[in-house]
């Protein structure tokens, strides 16, 4: 099982902030495809190059094998405090 977190406007767009995904996706691409399948607008927003991804709280770049990852966060541009 994986936990997916959305922040900022992605959260408003999706209508949720946190979800459990089962079974765990094996790759980031698989996770993206499953989310886009349910919600096309969200899938497009998540694919925007300004969106950064953290896997188990570490910034991930490019395509990622999730392995045992339990937490995947999608972060739109940060606004600062």
């Amino acid at each position: 099982m994986s936990r997916v977190l959305l922040f900022g406007r992605l959260r408003d767009l999706a209508g949720w902030r946190e979800r459990q995904i089962e079974p765990s996706p094996r790759t980031l691409a698989e996770l993206r495809a499953r989310l886009a399948h349910e919600d096309k607008a969200l899938g497009e927003a998540l694919a925007h190059p300004s969106v950064r991804i953290a896997v188990d709280q570490q910034i991930a770049v490019g395509e990622v094998v999730l392995g045992e990852a339990s937490e995947i966060a999608f972060m739109p541009p940060m606004s600062g405090g």
Partner: protein, 153 residues
């Protein structure tokens, strides 16, 4: 040195009261960022952090600043959640032997916190809410501290 994220309001003066009391501390700088009323158009700010991730990132910047500026003490407190006009959003205090280090450390940390720290900010007004991103000058301020970039020849 401490970094705290909290949903509860805080009082900058109370935070300053206990800060930077080392015998060789000659300079203490504090910065308080306060939620402006925006002429009554703002009902509240909403600040979202990624618990675990946001505090760790800020903690790493704080530790780098502590070393770089030889700080005697450093405190960062940042609100999250819903913040009303007049309430403090962020407090940064730095203590050093001399004022140059204390000023530059506070200035640099604020530039980082305002433009690059992992927060998402929504302004709530009469017309609903909108997510806001850093102003161009926030990026420019933060870039003042970057090392010069290597250029391909």
């Amino acid at each position: 040195m401490a970094v705290r994220l909290q949903d509860e309001p805080f009082d900058p003066a109370a935070l300053l009261a206990g800060f930077g009391k080392g015998p060789e501390t000659g300079a203490v700088v504090s910065f308080s960022g306060v939620c402006r009323a925006e002429g009554g158009t703002l009902e509240a700010l909403e600040l979202e952090a990624y618990p675990g991730f946001t505090d760790r990132e800020i903690g790493e910047m704080a530790e780098a600043a502590r070393k770089r500026f030889d700080l005697h003490d450093l405190l960062i407190v940042h609100r999250t959640g819903r913040i009303a006009p007049g309430e403090a959003i962020v407090f940064v205090a730095t203590a050093a032997a001399h004022r140059r280090e204390a000023f530059e450390a506070a200035d640099q940390l604020m530039d980082y916190l305002k433009s690059r720290a992992p927060f998402w900010k929504k302004a709530h007004g009469a017309d609903g809410g909108r997510w806001i991103e850093p102003r161009l000058e926030d990026y420019e301020d933060a870039a003042r501290w970057d090392a010069p970039q290597e250029r391909p020849v």
